[in-house]
């Protein structure tokens, strides 16, 4: 009889101990991040390193589609229904206002502290904070660059007129068939190109939520692009060119200048590239007294307001955007960092001497309008400017139409009045 009681007591104690032990063991917090496929691949090692060093957090990366917009569509489809399986999103700079305005993002101010953006290189801090709150922390940066052939000229042009003059001379001398190639297709890339030229002529896209696209500067900018094609400095095919097409033409040695992103630098300096060592880059040309603009593109992490694991997500964010992580991304994958400390890292500078130039270009960064309806505004712009480039419309008419369409867009989506 007594034995049975003792057995029962032992069993009971063991059960209690096990339960207490199980409860006391720290719960593993899952954190889920959505990234476009290329970034998911690039950060695989970082993710494993994080999981190893943070046993209480299980970080998993969802590899989104390759196409940028498709990633956003995926995130929105669940957010619209009021729930989302993600804690962090890797966001393009042009989406952030839309997500923030929809109330889907968690302000990062109180998680990252008041000086969160302190270590960022000038230009990289753009597009992360607006309406008085911090919504995103940048991971990698991109900026529009003017590539020029060092073997064909001594110094790059700094004004539109100089660019035209140099191109004409080189074309006349038969050194290159074309002067300047850029992206003129009806897509977001054209908006980036236009923004740089617009700023270079002293114009602005959106000021205090009012479009300024029929200003003399804007018309001058559009006219200049049209003239490039009309005068034969830029091929007519530019109206269908994206980044790959422009790079292809430039790399074949058929143009003196190209506008493209930093990735092209790596391509142009590959061992089998005919232009290896013959190319340099600088910022876009501009009129006297106007800024040399580089359209900024950047990807950064935002936290979703509906996340159940905010503290853990912040740790992930800190880790993935840390100086060490950004250094890895640059060394292994060629991504441009955003932290000043990473730009000034001697090891990186030695491996990538062009980093200094990139940093300068980043400092000249300009942002596409931080509007929640940016996508539609951009859609209107690149459609209209494309008709100017193809010569189907005159610049003043097109820009006037663009201005009224933009105003109407803002009005009818509730942006004004």
């Amino acid at each position: 009889m007594a034995q049975r009681w003792r057995l029962l007591l032992v069993t009971f104690s063991v059960a209690v101990l096990l339960t207490v032990g199980a409860l006391a063991r720290p719960q593993i917090e899952p954190v889920s991040v959505l990234m476009p496929a290329p970034f998911a691949d690039a950060t695989t090692e970082l993710v494993s390193a994080f999981n190893r060093s943070h046993p209480r957090i299980a970080l998993s990366v969802t590899r989104g589609p390759l196409e940028t917009e498709a990633v956003s569509d995926l995130a929105i489809s669940s957010l619209l229904l009021g729930e989302s399986p993600y804690d962090l999103l890797l966001m393009d700079v042009s989406w952030t206002p839309k997500y923030a305005a929809a109330g889907w993002l968690e302000p990062l101010d109180r998680w990252l502290g008041p000086d969160a953006l302190g270590d960022l290189a000038p230009g990289a801090e753009l597009g992360n904070a607006f309406s008085g709150q911090l919504w995103r922390f940048p991971l990698v940066a991109d900026m529009g660059l003017l590539y020029w052939r060092t073997d064909l000229m001594a110094a790059p042009p700094r004004t539109p007129a100089e660019l035209v003059a140099i191109s004409r001379r080189l074309q006349r001398e038969g050194r290159v068939p074309w002067g300047y190639v850029w992206q003129g297709k009806q897509y977001e890339g054209l908006s980036c190109v236009v923004l740089e030229v617009l700023r270079g002529f002293g114009g602005h896209w959106l000021v205090k939520n009012q479009p300024q696209l029929d200003s003399p500067a804007a018309v001058a900018a559009a006219s200049w692009l049209q003239d490039l094609v009309r005068q034969g400095i830029t091929p007519e095919a530019v109206a269908n060119m994206g980044e790959p097409e422009a790079l292809q033409l430039f790399q074949a040695g058929d143009a003196a200048f190209m506008r493209n992103w930093p990735y092209a630098w790596a391509e142009l300096n590959k061992p089998d590239s005919p232009l290896r060592g013959k190319v340099a880059f600088t910022t876009m040309v501009s009129e006297e007294g106007e800024p040399h603009a580089a359209t900024q593109g950047s990807w950064g992490f935002s936290m979703l307001a509906g996340s159940q694991h905010k503290a853990a997500a912040v740790e992930v964010l800190r880790f993935l955007t840390s100086a060490e992580a950004q250094k890895q991304l640059n060394l292994r994958w060629g991504y441009t960092p955003t932290r000043l400390s990473v730009f000034e890292d001697p090891e990186l500078r030695a491996a990538n001497p062009v980093l200094t130039d990139l940093q300068q270009a980043l400092a000249a960064a300009v942002l596409r309008p931080l509007s929640p309806v940016y996508a539609q505004l951009s859609d209107l712009l690149y459609r209209d400017v494309n008709t100017v480039i193809t010569g189907d419309e005159s610049a003043p008419t097109a820009m006037r139409a663009l201005q009224s369409n933009s105003e109407r867009l803002l009005r009818s989506s509730g942006g004004q009045g």
Binding site: S72, I76, A102, K185, P372, A375, L409, S412, G414
Partner: protein, 291 residues
Amino acid sequence: MRWRLWLLMAPALALLLAIFAAPLLHYLWLSTQAQSVLTGLQPQPIRAQQWLRLWNDGRFWQDTWQTLRFSAASVSLEMLFGLAVALLLNQPLRGRGLLRTISLLPWALPTTVMALGWRWIFNDPYGPISRLLAGLELPAIPFLSNPALTWMATVGADTWKTTPFVALLLLAGLQTIPADLYEAAALEGATPWKTLRRITLPLLTPYLLIALLFRLAQALGVFDLIQVLTGGGPAGSTESLALYAYLNAMRFLDFGYSATLLLGSFAILLILCGAGALIWRWSLRWQGSLR
């Protein structure tokens, strides 16, 4: 007893109203509102601004043209091929039943499933068509990256899927034509072409028109195929009205404008199919007056 019949119909009619009528009325109201990410996804009345915007929206008119072009090409081909297939299947051949079923298989498959398949088939340079062209030493055709060609690829994929449906419909119609009419024509020495023109087509007209109207309405709302096969590209050259409306809601978060676009598409549908139906009524009356 009448009221009991209506009672039986009530639940179904209620659901039908809820699914078809209510949304359209809702769109009518929503198109006078601004409801977008800028209004916190709450509606704000703005009267006719959305419609003004629609009227001036280049992308809307471009998509209308593209949708009409797609529908016209697709429906014409389907009617043509469908008639050919129906005539073939109408003949007493061996294995007719199995052939009929097999020819219906394309229609039964989900569009999105086969759209993946089409992406591969049209792929340049690895898809079978490109390989065939390369093997025959013909120049490659960039089906999915050349704006002038991609819409044709979508028409091809759509025709493949919906021809069987039209064929089936027309086949049923063909089978109502009494055989002795054909016998009489054969006795008079009529050629097959004449038989087709004088006997088959006139008697088949009601079925042709049903198929036409049905397919036209469906084609004007094309969405699944475009979204998965081309995503509206390249450079928006295959974007349909339905896809544009969808993007406005799900990507741009502009519900007010999306509703306006949907109503605009519905209006176009109504005009075209309404015109078609009126022509049909008129033709029936004309046929009737001939008798």
